[in-house]
Structures are given as structure tokens and as C-alpha cells.
């Protein structure tokens, strides 16, 4: 494999990792409360700026990752209990508008607090070296993003498919009434879904900063939207689908840039949304969901 192709592949996978992390949380939250959470992307921004603050006070990197997970989880639980819990049971549109409101509040608070100025976000110098891999090489940053994402996803799948909490979450997502009749505390289960999903989004923020080198208070918009697209590709509500959707999206974007003539590569987001429209037309239930189960 040529270095060029390999580089594109690694690039696509690391971009896809970011989308997958955000999309999984997005999908989890939708699966359990049927809420398209447009504030989800803003957790990415919160994760990125928390990291910047911790770098400034000299917290060591491994601890930063742990703290970012915790900050994301707490922020997610806060949003859930303050904003979404009081309107539970309201029509879906109400929830949808509330998520937009949360997003606007978070973005503008961040603008007031941090100003709209771009800030440099740097991983430690050793992260920028290149790792030789038998004739080709890849940046350590990308490799770390890909590997840590796989690790986090593995942990998530373990929680969801092998623990009591995960079983309760899947049961609640499928049949809320029956779950309550089993003695499941629905509020606590939903809170857990928000905590886990938001923690993953916050970590994606660390990776986002490291990969692109600059962050600003509005950076959450794009990953939030892309996560939505990834979920539609994979099938909304399915975790495996959201993950694969994220990787497909990342690879497709890199492919567009690589294959399209130079003057069109600036339109890569347009192609992403074209992909979304095609999938909505051809297979609206998503590529990895066999049938649509709409819980009315």
C-alpha cells in the first residue's frame, strides 16, 4: 500500500473515531428517551476547553482523560436533570426545541466566558511524531485516537451488553412501561445513558482539539450534526450502527477530499449531506437496521 493511500486510511479512521464517539452517545440517548439531542455536540466543546484548562494548570495527560470523562458525565447528567427531566412525557417537538435551547445557552455562555477567539490546542510534542509501520508511517496522534476510541467502545459495549445496568438500559429503551414494572428506576437509567453518552462526547473533544490544533466555543456544532448523520447512516437508536456510521462517514469524507478535483474538495460537507439525503431516500431505517420499530 502506498504511503498516500495508507495516510488517507488512517486519517479517515481517526476522523471516523471522533464521529463514532459522538454518534454512539447521540444514539444511546435517542434510544432511551427518543430525543434528538442537538446539544450533544456541545459536550465535545466542553471536553475540549476543559482539557485546555487542565493543560494550563499542569494536570498530567492520563489524568486529563479521566477527568474529561467525568466532566462530560456530570455535564450530561446536569443537562438531563435540569432541562429534560421536567419535560419528560411532553410531545417530541418540545424536547427537540429544548435541546436546541440548551445548545444555544451553552454556546453563548461559552462565548461570553471564553470569547469567540480561536485558541491553540496542542498535544505534547511526542504525540506529533510519526510511527513507522512497515514501509509506511502514521502520526502518533491518529494512532492514539484510533486505539483509545476502540478501547472506549469496547468498554461501552461491555457495559451495555454484559452488565445489569446495561440490560436495564436496553430494556428501558425497548419498553419503558415493562421496565418500570420490573422495578427499574427509569430516571436513574436515563441519567446513566446521558452520563455515558456525554462522557464519550467530551473525550471526543480532547481528540478533536488534538487533531485540528485549534478550538473555539462553537466547535460543537459540526460534530453534533455529523453524529446525527452517522446515526442516520447506521440506523438511529442502534449502537453498533452509530459506530459503523461514524467510521463510514469519516472514511467517506477523506475519500471525497482525496478523489474529488481540488476545486471541489472544499465542498466535502456538501457531499456528506448529499450522502445523508441519498440514504434517507434509499434506506431510511439505516444501513445496519433490518426493520424499523417505531414505538408510538
Amino acid at each position: 500500500m502506498s504511503q498516500y493511500l495508507f495516510q488517507q486510511l488512517v486519517n479517515g479512521l481517526s476522523l471516523g473515531s471522533l464521529y463514532a464517539l459522538v454518534a454512539i452517545g447521540f444514539s444511546m440517548i435517542y434510544g432511551i428517551v427518543r430525543l434528538i439531542n442537538f446539544a450533544h455536540g456541545d459536550l465535545v466543546m466542553i471536553g475540549a476547553f476543559s482539557t485546555l484548562a487542565m493543560i494550563a494548570v499542569g494536570v498530567p495527560w492520563p489524568l486529563i482523560l479521566v477527568f474529561v470523562l467525568m466532566i462530560g458525565a456530570v455535564a450530561g447528567m446536569l443537562i438531563e436533570s435540569v432541562v429534560f427531566r421536567p419535560i419528560r412525557g411532553a410531545p417530541q417537538v418540545t424536547g427537540f426545541i429544548a435541546t436546541l435551547a440548551v445548545s444555544i445557552v451553552i454556546q453563548n455562555s461559552a462565548l461570553l466566558l471564553l470569547t469567540g477567539q480561536q485558541r491553540n490546542f496542542v498535544f505534547p510534542a511526542f504525540m506529533r511524531q510519526r510511527v513507522p509501520l512497515g514501509g509506511v508511517s502514521a502520526s502518533l496522534t491518529d494512532m492514539v485516537i484510533i486505539c483509545l476510541t476502540l478501547l472506549l467502545i469496547a468498554i461501552l459495549f461491555f457495559i451495555v451488553y454484559r452488565t445489569r445496568l446495561g440490560t436495564a438500559m436496553r430494556a428501558t429503551a425497548e419498553n419503558l412501561m415493562a421496565a418500570r414494572l420490573m422495578g427499574v428506576s427509569v430516571n436513574r437509567t436515563i441519567l446513566a445513558a446521558f452520563a455515558i453518552g456525554s462522557a464519550l462526547a467530551a473525550v471526543a473533544g480532547v481528540f478533536w482539539g488534538g487533531k485540528f490544533g485549534q478550538i473555539d466555543p462553537l466547535l460543537g456544532f459540526v460534530p453534533g450534526l455529523k453524529a446525527f448523520v452517522a446515526c442516520v447512516i447506521g440506523g438511529v437508536g442502534s449502537l453498533g450502527g452509530a459506530m459503523l456510521g461514524g467510521y463510514i462517514l469519516g472514511l467517506a469524507e477523506v475519500l471525497f477530499v482525496g478523489l474529488l478535483p481540488q476545486e471541489l474538495s472544499g465542498y466535502r460537507d456538501a457531499f456528506v449531506f448529499l450522502l445523508l439525503i441519498v440514504i434517507l431516500l434509499v434506506k431510511p431505517s439505516g444501513l445496519f437496521v433490518r426493520h424499523v420499530e417505531d414505538r408510538a
Binding site: A168, M177, R180, M182, V184
Partner: protein, 240 residues
């Protein structure tokens, strides 16, 4: 064990239960019969804390104490031992059979106890052991009903509410289900059974209530009601 007095329940603007009162004594099998839409399922949903009454009283008394079912959370009601096996089975289709049973034991934490209870359910319904790792949605209707009852049993019910366990099942499966209900009763589980299949319900019930349009219109021993003309005509299909 269960005392219900003057229960009034609304669903939206509809007054569904009107001044409903009845009792279930410890170790007893009580049947609640009545036509579709009479308010039977609403009664059970209110007892398990999923619907709140506008007024009235519903109390369950066990060795553990007394619990006000009109105020306690659904979670606390389950922990107190009132287990509701809902209409239409409501099993978790995407979970495996084993996971469904584990969800039944959600409020219990002692592993040995759960394992023993699972073994008992497997003995009652061997098919659930055979299909343990299959998704519950792949089971037949009768097997799903067995799973729903098995799941309820894993919660170790003191008072078991069964909503239409025979609905849509083949006669042979209905027999199996009723055998199990009789067995549970013999084991001392208090049961409140809702049925449209009035004959079978009245045959095994110690006490029965007839519900019409949200009111209890008749009460008596199961056998007694079977001989009641009104019941015979309306629910047993016997012409006068």
C-alpha cells in the same frame, strides 16, 4: 393483604374507574372479570403505581409492613412484592430469554437466590431453559406468555397481578398456564387474576369480582358467581 376503597381513576378526561372497592386476602386467588374496556387493566396499572388515582385508597399489607400504592413509586411497589404481569405479555423482544428473566430479578441482589429462582422457573417451563440464549422476540406466543410469567416469578411476588394470561393462546397452552397458576396458589402466592375467559377464572378463583363500566357490580365466591344468572348470561355465554 390488598385493600382497595373508593378508587377513582381518570385517563385523560375519561373517568375510567368509579368508586372501585375490593379486597384480596392473603393466599387467596381473586379474579376480576368483565368485558373489554370495563377498567380491569386500569385497575392493575393503578395498583402497580403506573397510574395515579384522583381519589381513593389502595393499600398492600405484608409481613414487611404496609405500603400505600397510591403514593409509592413503581420501583418501591415492586420491591414490596407486588408484581404485575401486564396485558399483552410485554416481554423485552430484543433481549434474550435469559436477560428477560434477569430483568425480572432486577430488584434482587443475592446471586444464589436468583439462581435458585431461575432454576425453579426453568423447571416450571423447561422451554425457557432450552431457549435461554435466543432473543425473546423469536419465541411463539405461548412461550412468550411463559416467559412473562417466569419473569414475574423471578421477582418473588407476594402479590401477583396477572392480566389476561390466556389471551390469544391455543387451548393447550392455556391449560399449561392455568396449571401453573393453580400451582402458584398452592405455594401460597396471593394472586389477582384478570380474565375474559370467565369460566376458567371462576373455576379456580376463591373470590371474584365483576366489573362493568368502571364499577364493581358483583362480588362473591368463584363458584357462587358461576351460578349467578347475570354472570352466566353476560360472561359465560349461557342463555337464560
Amino acid at each position: 393483604m390488598l385493600e382497595v376503597r373508593g378508587l377513582d381513576v381518570f385517563r385523560g378526561a375519561t373517568h375510567v374507574l368509579k368508586d372501585v372497592s375490593f379486597n384480596v386476602a392473603r393466599g387467596e386467588l381473586a379474579a376480576l372479570i368483565g368485558a373489554n374496556g370495563a377498567g380491569k387493566s386500569t385497575t392493575l396499572l393503578t395498583l402497580s403505581g403506573l397510574l395515579r388515582p384522583r381519589s381513593g385508597l389502595a393499600v398492600m399489607r405484608t409481613e414487611g409492613g404496609e405500603i400505600d400504592l397510591t403514593r409509592a413509586s413503581a420501583e418501591r411497589i415492586v420491591r414490596a412484592g407486588l408484581i404485575h404481569c401486564p396485558e399483552g405479555r410485554q416481554i423485552f423482544q430484543s433481549l434474550t430469554v435469559a436477560e428477560n428473566l434477569a430483568m425480572g430479578a432486577y430488584t434482587r441482589s443475592r446471586r444464589e437466590e436468583i439462581a435458585a429462582a431461575t432454576a425453579e422457573v426453568h423447571e416450571l417451563f423447561p422451554i425457557l431453559k432450552e431457549r435461554a440464549s435466543l432473543p425473546a422476540g423469536s419465541l411463539s406466543g405461548g412461550e412468550q406468555m411463559m416467559l412473562a410469567i417466569g419473569r414475574a416469578l423471578l421477582a418473588s411476588p407476594k402479590l401477583l397481578l396477572l392480566d389476561e394470561p390466556s389471551l390469544g393462546l391455543a387451548p393447550k397452552v392455556v391449560e399449561t398456564i392455568f396449571d401453573v397458576i393453580a400451582r402458584l396458589k398452592a405455594q401460597g402466592v396471593t394472586i389477582l387474576l384478570i380474565e375474559q375467559n370467565a369460566v376458567m377464572a371462576l373455576e379456580i378463583a376463591d373470590r371474584a369480582y365483576v366489573m362493568e363500566n368502571g364499577r364493581i357490580v358483583l362480588a362473591g365466591a368463584g363458584r357462587e358467581l358461576m351460578d349467578n344468572d347475570r354472570v352466566r348470561q353476560s360472561y359465560l355465554g349461557v342463555p337464560l
